[in-house]
Subunit: 251 residues, 2 copies
DNA sequence: ACGCATTTGTTCGTATGTATT
DNA sequence: TAATACATACGAACAAATGCG
């Protein structure tokens, strides 16, 4: 009784020749994307979803399992299943892999350098899949440990979804920047790719990071994606790794 | 009928207050560690394992599922479940995240520089959890793209499990070095941690990589673990990232 | 080329355990 | 304590891929 029913009953316009649980997964993802459930909120219980999609609880469970391993949802026994958010303690620095060499917990102050709106440079437009005429925000900021600058970030955001972004609002918010994006603009980052290089400090970067010109810096270029593999942020970071390192786990 | 039976029937000396499928997972891991099934071989079918452990097929399945996501096992529909190995094409450069900037497939030549046996330096001994008096192998090698050196690796291995390692055997083997370790010494690397920094080229490293002294290089310190979270390799790599980058996916 | 047996993959249903409110 | 929701466990059936005769 596995493959006959699904198409008519629960689904309709979906790929259709995929396993049921994957079709459910697609439907759940659409609801997330469409904002039916907001970050931090609980989604309906497995039993409710099973009734809604006319499949068994186990099938819903398998779909949710995969969305949970992809960090789109968070399961909490006894409470429910929740839409993942960047504004919780546990996922605070979800995308920042930098750690102090002494294994202390990382805690960085932010200093905003500037926030401008301008025509997208060609490389930025290409990375963000924008037209050459589209506008973008360029945000530059420092992250400091104590008085010591550690990270210089240059952040590029498409102007359209971030309409209304200002330096004041950037400075004003508390918590991670991705939580700010999520709450104030409804843009959820769900995954990212990074390209890492060693480069020599040059120009104002050396000055801002208080290192000698030519000093080695870690260059981290991050492209962050929202639902549907849509790129919505290009972030170019320069990390001073004199007292910090980038940590990565290989499995 | 869920939690009463397991302890007497299948398991006996295991944590015991854990879910059944986790106990099964532990037992499977022990068999892997003990060499009951060798890398590349098939393990018994789910039904056989269910009979052996006196649990349902679904419970075995969940245990295998987790071991598969941890890359200890590989499932193949219609064929069976196999012990993961480093000697297959698909998992060739499982731990090497370096990629050419032009997105071409990576293909590097190896050039062995030296392979020596010596008393473990203190930092190496600490990383590998060895006594100060223990011996280690130090292997140094270059990875080249065409004629251009890209990676300089310094590899530290505890002497005991790698007894009999020589430069000749290192040069003689085909395929990834981890496959060589696996086949010739029975040492399987199952996960690794990396610490990444930007450093300035110095001394013979600059010469060997054919870069100017002071040029920025990516420093990648990798600690690889075998079963039971036992560290068995410390690898210090210097990557020339002029035409390559370290790729990382954040989820 | 065909069919059969084997093995994993999917789906359903049911019952019970455990955490939260 | 009771209700709710996720977590674990069992059993059964069929689908899909594979390999063999």
């Amino acid at each position: 009784m596995s493959e006959a029913a699904p198409v008519e009953s629960a689904v309709s316009q979906t790929p259709s020749f995929a396993p049921l649980y994957q079709q459910i997964k697609t439907l759940l993802t659409r609801s997330l994307q469409g904002g039916e459930w907001k970050p931090g909120e609980a989604i309906p219980s497995e039993i409710e979803l099973a009734a809604r999609f006319k499949v068994s609880q186990g099938t819903v469970r398998k779909a949710i399992d995969e969305l949970a391993t992809e960090n789109l949802l968070v399961r909490r026994q006894g409470k429910g299943t929740f839409v993942a958010t960047h504004s919780e303690e546990r996922t605070q620095y979800r995308f920042l892999r930098l750690q102090p060499d002494d294994e202390a917990a990382i805690s960085l102050r932010r200093r905003l350098l500037d926030c401008r709106r301008l025509r997208a440079p060609v490389d930025v437009a290409r990375a963000l899949a924008l037209k050459a005429s589209d506008n973008v925000f360029q945000v530059r900021r420092l992250l400091l440990q104590g008085e010591q600058p550690v990270v210089l970030d240059e952040i590029w955001l498409p102007a359209a979804p971030f309409k209304g972004l200002t330096a004041e609002r950037l400075v004003g918010h508390r918590g991670p920047m991705y939580a700010f994006f999520e709450g104030d603009f409804g843009v959820r980052m769900i995954r990212a790719d990074e390209r890492i290089r060693a480069v020599a400090a040059a120009g104002d970067a050396a000055q801002l990071l208080a290192v000698a010109p030519g000093a080695p810096l870690l260059s981290v270029e991050r492209l962050s994606y929202t639902y549907g593999d849509k790129p919505v942020e290009l972030r170019r970071g320069l990390y001073d790794t004199a007292h910090h390192h980038y940590r990565n786990a290989l499995n």
